[in-house]
């Protein structure tokens, strides 16, 4: 059986709904079930997320005072590892995991496209992530002094990018080709549409990162590290993925989650849906940042296109903000934790985009110190994590079959809002220190506040993980197919958790909210 074939247990014969496969080591390691693969992604990424935010807090703590608890090299490598890790080990896989699980359900498919390839991608990502972490810890981070460890880090990063791209291809192909009859592209649920846009942008930008890594590795391995592989400039060549505008590409699926959560938990159809789709599309177009590599194109941030992209990003964001705000007005918001987390994500996204717009204004000179850009990065990644936490809370009952403890989710609303805002805004304030000399004296205090913020976001990741696990515990209230009672899209039409094959016969979809049509 080829990688592109469909395993029998994930067969497309939706009319024959079989009971779920009983978990065992064989079914865990050999499964091609998109639900299991998606769940593994989410669980592993949350664990990496907790570690990554703790590492970010520690590397920020190193900036405080003169007597640091870490050596300069260790702190630098820890900071760089957490910078890249939070994107490639946490945010992208979190969204990819949710996409692998939820997109087939939302589009009415019985499986993800190429289920074996999706499973291979997940295991390759997990293995490469482990190697990346271990190699980084044995002085193999960017600019590390152990040559073989550095090579291992580069190869592990290459492996995990290839894995993420393969996983993305599976989800994109599902959204493009496996939609149930009647589900035209403009009727695709918001999360699936945002995965389509976000995945396409990842597919067109992450390979450029792979190209950077390839050059660094070849130079490091065969040319003695004199050009691309020179220790001092290795990280500079990959930094662009954590910088404006590319950083926005990792927020796109979050917008879809926010829209779906708000629509369901306010009980309102999303008004001006096409405008929301347009806003997500425009957000995607404006986040293509592979061309703006400071190491290759030093004056990229002085480029008019770069500055225009940073400023124009406000438009789709505000459009999206207005569109989902209307749902609050039209519906009756239910005070559940996923709704709160969605609002937190929306607020942090707006702050990140505002910070990006300020960063793009050259006369403000906010690009001088790097603190402001670091603050924007923290805001953006915290926004993405909040969106993922909202998605995990929202689809948790579908994934586990039980309702999670809502109290944990509500606590997480406060933790992620506080953590994201403290972690990001304090660094943004510090970014103004070249204009307001008084701020230089507050350097240590602001960095401590930011470090505490990062630690809080780590706690937020832990709470999201506990919330998901609490739904799977014995005695958790059993979730109905439509766990919230106001579901609009197809994932709420199949049992919780979905059986093999997901659906029985589906009616032809006639609107973006097929479950509401059914009620009518």
């Amino acid at each position: 059986m080829a990688l592109t074939d469909t395993r029998p247990e994930t067969g497309t014969d939706a009319s024959a709904v079989a009971p779920s496969v009983v978990p065992s080591p064989l079914t865990i390691f050999g499964t091609g079930d998109h639900k299991a693969v998606g769940t593994f992604y989410v669980l592993a990424a949350l664990v990496f997320g907790i570690a990554g935010w703790v590492a970010a807090a520690l590397s920020l703590g190193h900036e405080v005072g003169s007597n640091s608890f870490l050596s300069g090299s260790t702190a630098m490598q820890l900071g760089q590892t957490s910078n890249l890790g939070l994107i490639l080990l946490v945010i992208v896989p979190l969204f990819l995991g949710l996409g692998t699980y939820i997109v087939p359900l939302q589009v009415g498919a019985s499986t993800v496209a190429f289920p074996r390839a999706a499973a291979a991608a997940m295991w390759t990502w997990l293995l490469s992530s482990g190697v990346f972490i271990v190699a980084s810890f044995i002085d193999g981070g960017f600019g590390g002094s152990r040559e073989k460890s550095v090579s291992l880090t580069l190869m592990a990063l290459g492996g995990l990018i290839v894995a993420l791209l393969l996983g993305t291809v599976c989800v994109l192909t599902t959204a493009v080709t496996l939609r149930t009859p009647g589900m035209t592209l403009d009727r695709v649920p918001m999360f699936s549409f945002s995965m389509l846009v976000g995945g396409a942008i990842w597919l067109l930008t992450l390979p450029v990162l792979l190209a950077n890594l390839l050059l660094i590795w070849v130079d490091h391995r065969y040319n003695g590290g004199t050009t691309f592989g020179a220790g001092a400039i290795q990280f500079d060549q990959v930094l662009w993925i954590a910088y404006e505008p590319q950083i926005y590409a990792f927020l796109i699926p979050g917008l879809g989650i926010v829209a779906d959560v708000i629509a369901t938990l306010t009980g309102a159809r999303l008004g001006q849906r096409n405008i929301l789709l347009l806003a997500i599309g425009a957000f995607g177009v404006l986040s293509v940042g592979a061309w703006a590599q400071p190491a290759i194109y030093p004056s990229a941030s002085d480029d008019l296109v770069w500055q225009a992209m940073g400023l124009l990003m406000l438009l789709p964001t505000l459009l999206f903000f207005g569109g989902v705000a209307k749902a609050f007005k039209d519906g009756k918001p239910s005070l559940k934790s996923p709704l709160g987390l969605a609002v937190v994500s929306l607020l942090l996204t707006l702050l990140a985009v505002l910070a990006g717009a300020l960063l793009a204004i050259t006369p403000l000179e906010l690009r001088v110190s790097g603190f402001f850009a670091a603050g924007q990065y923290v805001l953006a990644i915290a926004a993405a994590l909040a969106a993922a936490a909202a998605g995990i809370g929202y689809w948790g009952p579908k994934m586990t079959g039980g309702h999670s403890a809502d109290g944990l989710g509500k606590l997480n609303v406060l933790v992620l809002l506080g953590g994201g805002a403290l972690g990001g805004l304090s660094l943004c304030v510090l970014g103004f220190s070249n204009r307001f000399t008084g701020l230089e004296g507050a350097h240590d205090s602001l960095v401590i506040v930011s470090s505490i913020g990062c630690a809080l976001v780590a706690l937020g990741g832990a709470l999201a993980l506990l919330g998901l696990l609490s739904g799977a515990r014995k005695g958790a209230p059993e979730a109905a197919a439509d766990a919230w009672g106001t579901g609009q899209t197809l994932e709420w039409a199949c049992p919780s958790p979905p059986p093999t094959g997901n659906f029985g016969d589906l009616a032809i979809v006639r609107s973006p909210e097929p479950l509401l049509d059914e009620e009518a």
């Binding site: 496209a113 493009v176 597919l203 450029v208 950077n212 390839l214 050059l215 070849v218 050009t227």
Partner: protein
Amino acid sequence: MTAHVLPPAPAVQRPRVLVVGAAFAAAASFTVFIGLIGIYLAARVDVVGSGTAWLPEGATIPLQQPNTMFITLIMSVFTMQWAVAAIAKNDRVNSYLAMGLTLMLGIATIVMTTYLWYLMELDIASGIQGVLIYTITGAHIVMLVLAMIFVALMGLRALGGQFTARQHDGITAAAVFWYAMVAVYALIWISIYVTK
């Protein structure tokens, strides 16, 4: 006398999952080279702008071998399309022959590339030029080998009777990836071999 009405043919399997997936994979592979060639051109502009020649002393890039490879790969586009057209007409023999020829043209390209590396007399440790040229051309060989494996696998599946005139997405998907590989070579040909 009433005419015999045949039952309707079964619906053609849609959508074309494998073709779409291969197109996405081809797009991602193409983007790797866009990135590499972008960095190559930026580095070349810097070196030439500083008043020195791009290629290090003693190194040379002859054009005969790159041109031959380009012609070979263009021929392979025709043989690959021949395979797709033949299987679409259920002409399996021609399809096997076309895929076999495509693989042979791929092998010829690998041989010619290694011969070109020998002729260039460019040391990978000679500086930024060696790193860039060998990385880009080496990565293209990797993509070519992947495309050949894809074609060979689909050929084996065709031999196993998996593809028909109505359902031959595997061969079409392999063709999509093959065309992307040839398009990548066209970029390399113009930006590295012709421009030098």
